[in-house]
Amino acid sequence: MALVWQIQCTASPPLPSLPFFKRKSSSSPSLPLPLTRSFRLRFTHVPSPRPVAASISSVESPTSVDGLGNNKTPLLEVKGLTAVIAETKQEILKGVDLVVNHGEIHAIMGKNGSGKSTFSKVLVGHPDYEVTGGSVVFKGENLLDMEPEERSLAGLFMSFQSPVEIPGVNNIDFLHMAYNARRKKLGQPELGPLEFYAYIYPKLDLVNMKTDFLNRNVNEGFSGGERKRNEILQLAVLGADFAILDEIDSGLDVDALRDVAKAVNGLLTLKNSVLMITHYRRLLEFIKPTFIHIMEDGRIIKTGDSSLAQILEEKGYNAIPSA
């Protein structure tokens, strides 16, 4: 296990990224740079002259080397992502950097309006937002060039904070369509309705929902908890390499939360990763994160491990920069 301490301060405004960080998105599996993945520095690009918040983090790098000693590429690598609202051109993301490796669980917390949901929406390709700078590499490919459906087929799943209702399309038809789209992408034959039903039936237990739920229209008349569970059901059915769960815990009662957490934990393997956006520590007790990031004003300002949540709970967000 390599322990790396990185201390960097920037004293003056716009500094380009230090050469350390300037590397191309690596798609080759054998990188002679064992230090790559251990960088967890949140380096802020400051567009206007003002005192830069120096972010210092001591990071314990995870076991980023697999059993054979090969270094794998990061699952998701976000560099300097800036984004604005398409209509008003108001800047929301001001330079987000994030690296997620296979098998890791990340959590993002932050004040309301800090840009957490925006970040996840930008990753998924929501038309309300426009990317103005930075890069996102997902499984070695440039994510920002892909259409939303291509991103989903590439293995990116996002569970929405407020899933929209689709009256007239029922759940099983919707899942069937999505599942067949995936199968087609993988070059596998599509499943007929009966076979699909057989495939989906055991997944219902995973989210603790009854079968009549499949015949209801997507999210129509669903309570908050049911909508969230529907999102997790979709995750279970479609599978994902990287799942972004946007406030999956909001509106859920204790039991529902436990069910959802159990379902998510059951879906985790060494290969896929999860990014949770949440406000509360409660979810993090059920799904234990590898890393917690604090987001503020469109940037990730701090990264820590699960102990960070404890600090937040006790002292609030104002305690963070000084920690």
């Binding site: 259409e147 038809d173 919707f174 369509m177």
Partner: protein, 488 residues
Amino acid sequence: MAALASTHPNLLQFTPKLSPSKQQLKPKRIATKFSVQAISASPQTSFTDQYVLQLADSLEDSLPSSSSFLLQNLRDNSSETILSTQWPSRKDESFRFTDTSFIKSSDIKPISHPPKTPTFSDISRDTKFKSFYFADGFLLDSSFDSSNLPDGVYVGSLSKLPSDGILERVSGLLGDLEWGDLFWSINGLGAPDLMVVYVPEGCKVEQPIYLKYIAVEGGDKGSKTMPLSNPRVFVLVEKGGEVGIVEEFAGKEDSECHWTNSVLEVVIGGGGKVRHSYVQNQSLNAAHIKWTSVRQESTSTYELVEVSTGGKLSRHNVHVQQLGSNTVTELTTFHMCVGDQTQDLHSRIVLDHPRGYCQQLHKCIVAHSSGQVVFDGNVKVNRYAQQTDAGQLTRSLLLEPRATVNVKPNLQIIADDVKCSHGAAISDLEDSQLFYFQARGIDLETARKALVFSFGAEVIDRLPHTFLQEQVKNNVKELLGSTMSKDS
């Protein structure tokens, strides 16, 4: 104007006779020396419309005078009304957006005989349905079988009514509509027979009554011949009775030209319930005009679910008259244009008694640049209709440039203690829903198809019989599939 004429039968009319032989028109005519030229050349005045007159004549010629006093009476009254009715023009409010020249410019031939060899391809049907067939407006005897119906229920031709009691009830109520238009009268004049559905007091008919209307005669595309059929049905549900009526207007395989002008009258006694399903899928060259006139006594329920997808010109006129308090009226309609079509719904609900509940949902999809949908939904909440709860919602989906929809939802409220609402939305598909599909890996094209179909599915799901739902869904999917695959 028709109303005026019927209350003033002595209105000066001189009609130039075209067929000199029969004495058909109302003998109360006063022949004067008033010049023929002045009258016949001005359809804008309240004098007779030449074209209408010719049509009335040919209708009368087409049928033998009926043995039934009731039917003859209906014909006489209709004839009287027709004489002072104009063919609707774009200047009439109720036809402002509906172009009837398609019918007017054709050579209309009322069908005078039932088809010789009825060919209906699908006899196989869910045995839960009690089916009756109309071919070219004539009720086919061969499908009579009232054995599985509860006692006292009668479904069949007027001429074969078993009891005089029912006949009396019917005669008091038949044809009584002050809001009728020309097409109502045309049917009254030209209906060869009247089908009666009678449900006695307290009787709940489990099996729905399935009426299938088939057009056998049709004019070829080249010729301008337009055979006209006038099927007419009268439904009388006594106090506490319940029945489901399904009307299906089927299309012909080859898109021949014909005109179906049908009328359905429903009288629902106190506490009664009628679930009316109406599916129209006529050929794309056909004209279809239908009247549904409903009278509801107190605490009765009338539910209409309509899915209209066919016909070059299709117009449905609905009139619901409330005759007592605490009624429930639900109109749910779905219209779709996939070609150069006009789909029109003109509905009127007249509430004169308290605590009525009425909800209207109208949805339409126009998937062709020459397609047009017209909606005029009128609800009159009159002075004594206090504590009415009335709602009206119309939603339209325009999928092609230059597709047109003209909606006029209107509630005329005089009572002052009511809850009324109405809304109209005309749009393309919702972006947030499309994005939800995309975020799950479904491409935009498939998502659009699914959402367009689901737009109509909301109404189709309200059809009370699963068999019908499946059939209609498949039909709509097919129609949508053929249009959307043409899109790039």
